[in-house]
Amino acid sequence: MTVKYTREHEWIRIEGDTATVGITFYAQEQLGDVVFVELPEPDTAADQGAEVAVVESVKAASDIYAPVTGTIFESNAELSDRPELVNEDPENDGWFFKMNLSDTSELEDLLDEADYQAFIQEEL
């Protein structure tokens, strides 16, 4: 199991050829209280970088992008009733969707944890 990060503040946990995607602790902190999450339907094919979900906080709506190319096969239904899970446990129970990977070579461009931490230090 490997966890990678994007510059759009998503985490992606890779197990074989499937990946679970959510937003980072830093991202939820920046968003503030999450009040609504719009998730993709199962069997949604997405290219890397495509807008596939929306997270709304008390402040604004933000797009969530597919971190890699693939087919989304499951969304976290729990978030419909409890969007606050994104704040409470962003990197576990607050996951957004799961996808099958089409091209594992895309993972090479993503950040590892140390690189991501360095990246958010630059943003601060």
Partner: protein, 371 residues
Amino acid sequence: MTDLHSLVLESFHVEQDAKFGSFAGYRMPMQYSLGVKGEHIHTRDAVGLFDVSHMGQLLIEGTGATKALEQLVPAALQEMIPGQIRYSQLTLNNGGILDDLMLTRLDGEYWGLVVNGACKYGDMDHLKKHLPAGVTMRYLDNYSLIAVQGPKARRVLSEMIPEAEKLIFMRSTQTLWNGHDITLSCCGYTGEDGYEISIAKQFARELAEALTQLKETTWVGLGARNSLRLETGLCLYGNDLTTDTTPIEADLSWSIQKRRRTDGGFLGAEIILKQIKDGSSRKRVGIKPEDGRTPLRDHTILKNIAGNVVGEITSGGFGPTHNGPVAMGYVSQNLNAIGTELLAEVRGKDLRCTVCDPIFVQHRYVRNLSH
């Protein structure tokens, strides 16, 4: 980038862990450590403190000031008693709104105005242009304005300023606090009971520190100030009110008293009075999504069931006390009845929504002291 003005209390807000953003040309506290939702809920439950010193505080005085002001706002001013406050709008010849404001009759021909920060310089140009010789305008740039809002504001502020206890909604008094002149006004923009305190800048920190020491107070940023006003159906100038919106379209006809409806005599009266009589082609309403979940944001397009564009959301988001989406916007006259079904275009999809009262959370102003 243009230079932002700093509030005189900026360093104080930094000490309170404020996160800043720019608004109306000022670096303003957007939120503190409680966050937007926490600050919002705290204001509805207890007391919120707001630094709104970006707003324009103006004094208008001189023989004929009252009549001169009546030519610029549709509120009836001549009947007001000293210490009374009224909400009104600076109107234009087209019936549009240059700004909305609070007017306090400090005394006979002596008026205090509080206007929006983003509009204040334009408002001053407008006032200078229209006020006759002998009526003077002074910009109180050297004064801060601190709002104290919430159901416990009356109780806690009275411990510090005894005059607060008996001051009812839309009344103002000039008094002393710790030896400093203050103007204490019972008004605000959260829908709650509360006050605004005007004080010379050099004493603002002393006041802010004393308010912070009061029980159950917390500092609240512009983020929650926006959700508090939106949830209680109060208009934000620039979003819900513009130079192309009339007070009637904005559903503010309650702020135009009877004499002014009959006699007119203010800029844009011809158009505004005709709209009172015949109705306007569009009206401000509340909008709620039928799914009860999806926030409808500013500038969301509204359509009728047939799919034709009939209006737009002008302010929308999430109301923490309502615990759901809250929004207001403008729709065509024939579609403004409560319960009318519409479609809101959200991210390319048409979402079912309904026209509702824009007041999602009831106002709790203290209009009398009988209870």
